[in-house]
Symmetry: C2
Subunit: 280 residues, 2 copies
C-alpha cells in the first residue's frame, strides 16, 4: 500500500504513551499503555491566550493552529518566530506587527472580561463571508480506500486508546494524520501545518473520529476543507452552519455505508447497488 | 426494575432533538433524529464568564455547575437568584456578596488578559487540600447492575446518538443521568444539582461515556465523587491526579469486565473467577 503521508502518528517512539500496571475485574494484575496529557500555554506576542491539554507532540503546529482557528492569526499576519519551551510547556508565537486581534481583545477586556464573546463573533463574521467552491467530486467508493489506509496506519489509538484522530486527505490520499486527547487539538495541529506550508488549496477531505459540532464545522470551513467525514454523528447546528457555508457533512462513516447530511451534490454515488434479492 | 432516578433524560419530549432528512451511501433518502446544540452564556453577577455549547436542557443547573467546577462558586457563597432567558440564551447567577473569584479575576485581567491561568491554579490549589475518604466499598458485581439500569433508561443517545452521558450513582443506584453535546456539560449539570440540593455527602460513583482526562478527575474530586467509572480509558495525568486525591478510577467498564487504574482498595472483587478450564 502506497503511503503519501506528510505527517503520521509515531506510536513506536513512545514519547506520548507510558506503560502502567493496573488490575482487572477479578483483582488480577494487568499491564497497559496509557496516553500522556500535559498543558501547553500559548502566547501571541506578549499576551497569554490559553492553556491547552495535549499529548505534547507538534506543540508549534498546535499553537499556530489554535490561533488560526480562533481567527486570531490571519494569512496577512507574518509570523516572525515560534519558540517552544518544553520545560515550562509554553509556545510563544511572535508576529511582525501587532495583530488586529490583540487590539480587539484589549478593548474587550477593558469593558467586560474574558474575550470569548469577541472571538466567537469574529469567527461567525468570517463564516458569513465564506462560501466553499462546489467543484470537487467525491466518489462514494473512495471511503473504503481512505478508511482502510487510515486503519492500517500505526497510531496511538491502536497502542493506547482514549484518543481522537483527525486525518487531512487530498482527494483519495491521507496526507496528515494527527491525534490528541483534546477534542480540537488534532484538528488545530493540521490547521497549523496548513498555515505554515504551501499545500494546494483545493480538494480537501477531513476525516475525524470525533463528533461534528458547530465548532468543528467552523474550523473546517476556516481551513478550506470541502468535505467533513466522521465515524460519529453531527449536531443540528453543525448541519445548519455546513449548509450555509457549503461544506459537505458525512456522518456514520463505514467502508461502504454513510449518511450524507448536506451538500450531497459533491458526492458521486458510484457504489454498486445492493442486489434486488437483498432488498426484497 | 425499580427506578430511583431524581433526574433522567426526557427523549420523548423532543425538545433536544429534531428529525431531519439525509441520504445514504447510495443516494437514497433516509430520515434520522439529530441533537440540538445552542449557546448558553453564563454570567456571575455582572461579569460574563463563558459561552457553552449545550443541548439546552437544565440551563440553570449547567450555569451553577460550571461555576462550581471552575472553583468560581464555593459552598459559602450564597446564591440570591438564578435567571435564565431562553430568548437570548443567558443564565445570570447572582450571589449575596461579591465572590472571591471576581476580585481575583479583576486583578488578573488588569495584568494579562484571560483568566484561564488563575482559574486553573485555583483548582490545583483546592485539589492539594483534598483527600477523599476511603471507607466506601464498591462491589465489582454492582457494575453489571448499574450498566444494565443505565442501558435500559430511554436516552437522547439511544434516540439520536452523538452525545455524551454522565450518571451520578449512590452505591448501586443511578440517581441523576445527564446528557449533553459538550464534553463536560453533562458533568457540570450534575455538579449544579449537587450544589443546590441536600443529598447525602458520601458513597458516590460517577459513570461516564467519555474519556477520563485531568479535567474530569478534577471535577469529580471537587464534587466529592469517590469512584469514577468510564466506558473508555484515562490519560496518565488523570491517573496521577486521581492517585494523589484518593479517587478510584475504573476504565473500559463492561458488565463483568473493567480495569481499575488506582485506589483499588475500595473495590470488593466478588465476581466469580473464570472456571479453571477456561483459564487453561
Amino acid at each position: 500500500m502506497s503511503d503519501d503521508y506528510i505527517i503520521k502518528p509515531q506510536p513506536e517512539t513512545g514519547t506520548s504513551t507510558s506503560p502502567m500496571k493496573a488490575v482487572d475485574a477479578h483483582g488480577n494484575p494487568v499491564e497497559l499503555d496509557i496516553v500522556h496529557e500535559r498543558p501547553l500555554t500559548v502566547f501571541l506576542n506578549n499576551r497569554e491566550i490559553v492553556t491547552l491539554m495535549s499529548i505534547g507532540d507538534h506543540p508549534k503546529l498546535l499553537g499556530v493552529g489554535y490561533l488560526v482557528n480562533q481567527n486570531m492569526l490571519s494569512p496577512q499576519d507574518q509570523i516572525e518566530s515560534i519558540d517552544y519551551d518544553d520545560v515550562i510547556d509554553t509556545v510563544v508565537i511572535r508576529t511582525k506587527v501587532v495583530t488586529d486581534f490583540e487590539e480587539k481583545l484589549k478593548r474587550k477586556i477593558l469593558t467586560s472580561g474574558c474575550g470569548q464573546g469577541t472571538i466567537f463573533a469574529d469567527i461567525m463574521d468570517k463564516l458569513e463571508d465564506t462560501t466553499l467552491a462546489q467543484t470537487f467530486q467525491f466518489k462514494a467508493s473512495w471511503l473504503e480506500l481512505l478508511l482502510n489506509k487510515i486503519k492500517a496506519t500505526p497510531s496511538l489509538y491502536r497502542k493506547a486508546g482514549s484518543i481522537h484522530g483527525c486525518v487531512l486527505c487530498h482527494k483519495d490520499k491521507p496526507l496528515i494524520y494527527m491525534e490528541d486527547v483534546g477534542r480540537h487539538n488534532a484538528l488545530d495541529k493540521i490547521a497549523g501545518y496548513l498555515y505554515l506550508n504551501d499545500l494546494p488549496k483545493e480538494d480537501y477531505i477531513l476525516y475525524t473520529t470525533g463528533r461534528m459540532t458547530s465548532e468543528m464545522v467552523m474550523k473546517a470551513v476556516i481551513m478550506g476543507i470541502e468535505i467533513l467525514i466522521s465515524r460519529s454523528g453531527a449536531t443540528q447546528w453543525a448541519v445548519e452552519l455546513a449548509e450555509k457555508t457549503g461544506l459537505t457533512l458525512i456522518s456514520r462513516a463505514r467502508p461502504k455505508r454513510f449518511i450524507a447530511l448536506c451538500h450531497q451534490g459533491r458526492i458521486m454515488f458510484d457504489l454498486e447497488k445492493p442486489s434486488s434479492k437483498a432488498a426484497e
